[in-house]
Symmetry: C2
Subunit: 329 residues, 2 copies
């Protein structure tokens, strides 16, 4: 949950006066997003989301994030559409923070994804990759493989306090991932954080993607790997092959995976697990317990890392290569 | 902010199926209330508030709270109206918690109340007292003067860790309040927690009162005293006589204060300050720092207690007795 910055009514009314959205009816801080403060805003013309960007978000990245959402929404992807003020701006300032207003998306995130959810999600992810291909801006992934080692080092060897031997295990994997990370796969703009709470469903249909604040330029199949790690494991840590197959097939039905992408998937999944293991480990060791941020157990991603390390062939994820590389056919 | 219990879509859809409110469109946890979990609920027929009652609320009190809101709303007071399911129930169970759905009130709480806000609030408080007079249920105030000493004792002398000498100061005041607390003033149902975040305004007009979960049977003028303490002091701790005058006059314009109520106001204000000083002190000493609950500084109410102790005559609050006891005239 996240409301870091309070907003007074006079401040918000003055901000809203720049838009053609009518008069303010109500606003309530909502428990959505962990990086920013979000409010559900009701005006005499409709319901909107107001986002205040907190200091964890680099102001220089905002035109990329907000521009990407507008680009995707204009191309038919269901995601929050930034609302323009009368001067055409999508970014303003409110309560000392950069701020933007977005259209409201109906739908609920699913706490227990079904294989059908995973298939729909795979398709939406591929459509996002295709729609983003024409977006003119780029953004370096601040959590790419080259950033993992410095992040690990900033944990100061604290890994072993979480699980004995963890530091050595991370170091071995880091060296292997650095040596073998692919550089010749198709790249483009990826979501990079497509966890279940960032995907809405309504009446069984996928109704929208939200929270593009980790979006960046990177390998497209790495985004699929991140998503697989986030959606296709059960609460007990076991891989659900039915969900994995559905996710990858849903993706490949829209955007055909190249053979090299297919072959790299186990390595990309190890990388995705390493990325979330390290950020969670860092937060586990460094975020104070009385913080607003709910700390997530890094061991969830350690388990996933070990699972992906055990994979010898992408087919073990549940899908035949022929099926994927040939696409829908 | 408060979302203690998460709700899954299947759970909520099953709960909603008992009502004639259409299908679920979205639900988001909101930062409102500190005792319960609240969600802003959108269905195909409108917007509602869903409340899950957490363990701090006694289940046996729920018919009183929910019945009171229905009673008040039916008599024209703007407050959340509990929605009946098809069997006529206003209380159900969701995610293992008692739960209720309420109509949504437009409006915003004011972070900086104006004298006009205070005048409108005084009138609304008096109208609430009058409308509640015909409500058939009663509820003992669990934070009445007889509860203050046990609450203080449960702080285990920790007052001096907050401010040296605080324990002796509280003990002297407690003894005085216990000896002099009035018993012959008009009583009825009071809100007992009418802080600014429980009062909504829209376009300068008071649009609703919320959060009746401290409502109980007690002295009506004590509710005015609680409200005065919550609304008529500036952030620096100084009493704002213009706001105090507006609040009391707004109240007396609707419900005439009896001379004994008027004379007792300084004592009642001392009591109100003691009540919030003690609950804040208890939380300060006992609630862990990593709790969801934001702890409020007890010294704010210590300052108010000292101010009210210095008052020799109710007129010092900014209003002539003649004006109040004669009412609007």
């Amino acid at each position: 949950m996240a409301v870091y910055t309070d907003v007074t009514e006079p401040q918000l009314a003055a901000f809203l006066a720049r838009y053609d959205l009518g008069a303010l009816s109500s606003y309530k801080g909502i428990a959505e997003g962990v990086e920013n403060s979000n409010f559900l805003l009701r005006t005499t013309t409709g319901t909107f989301i107001l986002t205040l960007y907190e200091k964890r978000v680099d102001r220089g990245d905002l035109p990329f994030f907000v521009g990407l959402m507008e680009h995707l929404a204009e191309r038919g992807l269901s995601c929050p559409l930034p609302v323009h003020d009368r001067e055409g701006n999508t970014l303003g300032e409110l309560a000392g923070r950069p701020a933007a207003i977005f259209t409201f998306l109906d739908g609920m995130w699913t706490r227990r994804p079904s294989p059908e959810n995973c298939r729909a999600l795979g398709g939406a992810l591929a459509r996002m990759h295709e729609a983003a291909a024409s977006f003119p801006l780029t953004r370096r992934n601040g959590l790419s493989p080259q950033d993992w080692r410095p992040l690990y080092e900033s944990c100061g060897g604290g890994g072993d306090t979480v699980e004995p031997g963890l530091s050595a295990e991370i170091e071995a994997d880091l060296a292997d991932l650095e040596a073998r990370w692919p550089t010749d796969l198709p790249s483009g703009i990826i979501h990079a954080d497509l966890f279940p709470d960032n995907v809405f469903f309504l009446a069984g249909e996928l109704s929208g993607l939200i929270d593009f604040y980790f979006a960046c330029t990177d390998l497209l199949a790495y985004d699929l790997a991140i998503t697989l790690c986030a959606w296709c494991f059960e609460p007990d840590g076991s891989y659900n092959v039915t969900k994995g197959r559905a996710l990858i097939a849903g993706y490949a039905d829209v955007r055909r995976l190249q053979p090299a992408e297919y072959r790299s998937l186990p390595l990309l999944c190890r990388g995705a697990s390493m990325r979330f293991l390290l950020t969670r480990l860092y937060d586990w060791l460094n975020v104070p317990d009385d913080s607003f941020v709910t700390k997530k157990d890094p061991r969830e991603y350690l388990k996933k890392l070990r699972f992906h390390r055990s994979i010898r062939d992408t087919a073990e994820y549940g899908l035949e290569a022929a099926r994927v590389t040939k696409g829908r056919a």
